[in-house]
């Protein structure tokens, strides 16, 4: 009996400590949407996974975003106020993204948030931003079929990456395609689009295989691919699986000449871990490479290396995150305020020269006009552009402009 008394006492004490700690913060005021601009600084949120499996990728995007904030502050800030980043860790865990987003909006009252990588983290944050009427800038290419009024998508949607990738394969005369992907939303959606495209363009899909995230045993899958003898493989694997897949494919004697593997989730950063030996010569599809030749990119790469180290590489999602900060700043300048609705209204039509070339915000679906670029991985680990779309492509997240894609999104 005495024991349980004591136990409960401890429980009370702990709960009380937790409560006072929780309550220590200033009480909430309800006007979250304008609060970010109060005082002589503007708080902006940065929400990426700094721990867990996604940290590998997301940390680099955070770095690029912090660089952009630093540069903007150095040139006078936004509306005469300096930006103060509030960095939170999404911990590679989707509910944590939702929780931290709530914290940034309600407690820190940030003017806007830059964050997310996986579709799952975006889907988890979407209701939080929509209901609080707060802004999220999402910097990664994704599967489309979404257009939230409170999210700006600075990475590619499917018609700026997947479809140009297919156009490229078609141009190269690759007719028989094998689809390999990680088992989650982006690859499955991408592959649906690919199958519809193939049906309309006389291409043949020889197989479609998915492996769990983090899967590392690819000998069976390699056997299936080799036996099917496709002209090319369309690869939507994510993360560490790419390492195992390319190593095992390479040691099975598959060469980039006879069977190119087009990847849409392998960028400069990932090449190092896969090993150049295993992947050199294979094509990838993005909107930006470290080697992209624009004046803005020269500056970006130099600044990034100066800040984070000469051995660091820049990649598409990093550039999209870097852009996001500049695009938001431009919209706020145009609106004359950081108030969310005003920024949203002002954003449409803003066009800025970015490292990837001219980027224009589509006011209708809040995606960007972006130039599609196909690159080939070089023996030095960088990616050389071999093809581009010539001009920025209008974003079309629901693929309404493609007759063969009707029915994919159920209207």
């Amino acid at each position: 009996m005495r024991n349980s008394v004591w136990r409960s006492g401890v429980a009370i004490a702990a709960l009380a400590t937790a409560l006072t700690a929780c309550g220590g913060e200033a009480p909430a005021s309800e006007s979250a949407s304008v609060a970010g601009g109060a005082g002589d600084t503007i708080k902006v949120g940065i929400l990426h996974s700094l721990s867990g499996t996604m940290a590998i990728s997301e940390v680099t995007v955070r770095d690029a975003e912090l660089l952009a904030i630093e540069e903007i502050n150095a040139s006078g800030g936004v509306l005469g106020k300096k930006l103060t980043p509030v960095v939170e860790d999404g911990a590679s865990d989707w509910p944590t993204f939702a929780e931290k987003a709530t914290k940034l909006i309600r407690q820190d009252k940030v003017a806007t948030t830059f964050g997310g990588w996986t579709s799952a983290s975006r889907k988890a944050m979407l209701p939080v931003f929509e209901r609080s009427k707060a802004l999220l800038w999402y910097p990664v290419q994704y599967e489309g079929l979404e257009s939230s009024p409170y999210i700006f998508y600075t990475g590619a949607t499917t018609n700026q990456q997947i479809i140009p990738g297919l156009d490229y394969l078609k141009e190269q005369g690759k007719k028989k395609i094998f689809l390999v992907g990680s088992d989650y939303v982006f690859p499955r959606t991408a592959n649906k689009i690919i199958k519809a495209y193939a049906a309309a363009n006389g291409m043949e899909i020889l197989g479609e295989e998915y492996t769990p995230l983090g899967h590392t045993e690819y000998s069976t899958l390699t056997n299936k691919v080799v036996q099917a003898k496709p002209d090319a493989v369309f690869n939507t694997l994510n993360g560490d699986s790419n390492v195992a897949f390319f190593k095992q494919l390479n040691s099975a004697g598959v060469t980039a000449q006879e069977m190119p593997v087009l990847s849409v989730s392998v960028a400069e950063e990932e090449v190092k871990g896969i090993g150049v030996d295993n992947i050199a010569g294979h094509p990838v599809a993005w909107n930006y490479y470290q080697t992209t030749e624009t004046p803005a990119n020269e500056k970006f790469v130099a600044a990034f290396k100066a800040k984070y180290g000469a051995d660091k590489v820049t990649s598409d999602p990093m550039e999209a995150g870097y852009n996001a900060v500049y695009l938001w700043a431009a919209a706020a300048k145009k609106a004359g305020t950081v108030e969310v609705e005003a920024v949203r209204k002002a954003a449409g039509g803003i066009a800025v020269e970015r490292p990837e070339g001219l980027v224009t915000i589509d006011g209708e679906n809040q995606h960007m006009y972006k130039t599609a670029r196909i690159g080939v991985i070089q023996p030095d680990g960088l990616i050389k552009e071999v093809w581009n779309s010539g001009e920025p492509i209008k974003p079309d997240p629901y693929l309404k402009g493609y007759p063969w894609a009707s029915g994919l999104s159920n209207g």
């Binding site: 940290a55 045993e217 056997n223 036996q227 560490d240 390492v243 095992q248 040691s251």
Partner: protein, 288 residues
């Protein structure tokens, strides 16, 4: 048909990987009842050993690293055993939580030492290419697994140390009263078991990613091999690894990789209905 036939050697080579990652566990788990969740991180340590040796030895790193990784991971295991685990005998479930804590710390340590992104270990050039469906690097792993099994068998049956190890495994108390220093045998077992994880780690650099999360990809599979094979049973582990490898290979061939994992789990639960103690059991009359 060719694809179907190819799955046979592929299944066996998957089995060889499973065997390598599980061998060390069968002994630490079998002899000491220690569920070492940090086993995966010892594998990771082996892989990073190969990565570090690359600077000195170039493409031969994988070969040179085999004995070095054995020592590195073995020493890590020994330190773990000396500082923590030896206070936990008789509390296997507590060691599970303890070693999980250790594994978290080691993962973060690797992240801080080597960076979060994967690193690359270059395979020797003579391991490129292959025979039929099996690349040379798979054959290399196969041979390595085979050599390890033979080595362990010889150690257990042909050396005094190995026989003492078997004695402790079969009856700890009896071994202790027969004058065997069980504490010393435990240290040795833990050293060898952890060292084997290091060897497995080197082999895995040939086929998989080398990064801080490496261990987490293999640990559950390794434990399943041990459960199916029976504790401390060399032949059990060999047969279980081969069986699970083949099952995996054919299940994935007929369905997909996700379903294959579920099928393997269901098969193990079903198998335990017939053999609740795994393939091979040490009989004991003790009432537990």
């Amino acid at each position: 048909m060719e694809a179907f036939l190819n799955q046979l050697p592929i299944g066996l080579s998957i089995g060889a990987v499973l065997l390598l990652i599980a061998l060390g566990l069968t002994f630490t788990f079998g002899q000491m009842g220690v569920i070492n969740m940090a086993h995966g991180e010892f594998i990771m340590a082996g892989a990073y050993t190969a990565y570090l040796l690359q600077d000195l030895t170039g493409r031969m790193a994988v070969i040179v690293a085999l004995p070095v990784a054995f020592l590195v991971a073995g020493l890590m295991g020994l330190i773990l055993e000396r500082t923590a685990i030896r206070h936990f005998y008789g509390r296997p479930l507590d060691t599970l939580l303890l070693t999980w804590g250790v594994s978290l710390v080691l993962q973060q340590l690797a992240r801080d030492l080597f960076g979060a992104p994967n690193v690359q270990v270059q395979a020797p050039t003579w391991l490129q290419g292959g025979i039929g469906p099996l690349p040379y690097n798979r054959l290399f792993i196969f041979a390595l697994a085979l050599a390890t099994v033979v080595g362990i068998w010889a150690y257990m049956n042909r050396t005094g140390q190995g026989r003492r190890m078997q004695a402790v495994m079969q009856n700890r108390q009896l071994a202790a009263v027969s004058g065997i220093n069980t504490g010393q045998v435990d240290q040795r077992t833990f050293f060898i078991g952890s060292g084997l994880a290091g060897v497995a780690g080197v082999a895995l650099t040939l086929i998989g990613p080398v990064g801080p999360a490496l261990g987490t990809y293999y640990i559950v599979d390794a434990f399943l091999v041990v459960v199916a094979g029976g504790l401390g049973q060399l032949r059990g582990a060999v047969i279980a690894a081969a069986g699970l490898g083949l099952l995996n290979s054919y299940a994935e061939f007929w369905s997909d990789a996700s379903l294959a994992k579920v099928i393997v789990f269901a098969a193990i639960v079903a198998f335990l209905q017939f053999r609740p103690q795994g393939l091979f059991v040490l009989r004991s009359r003790a009432l537990t």
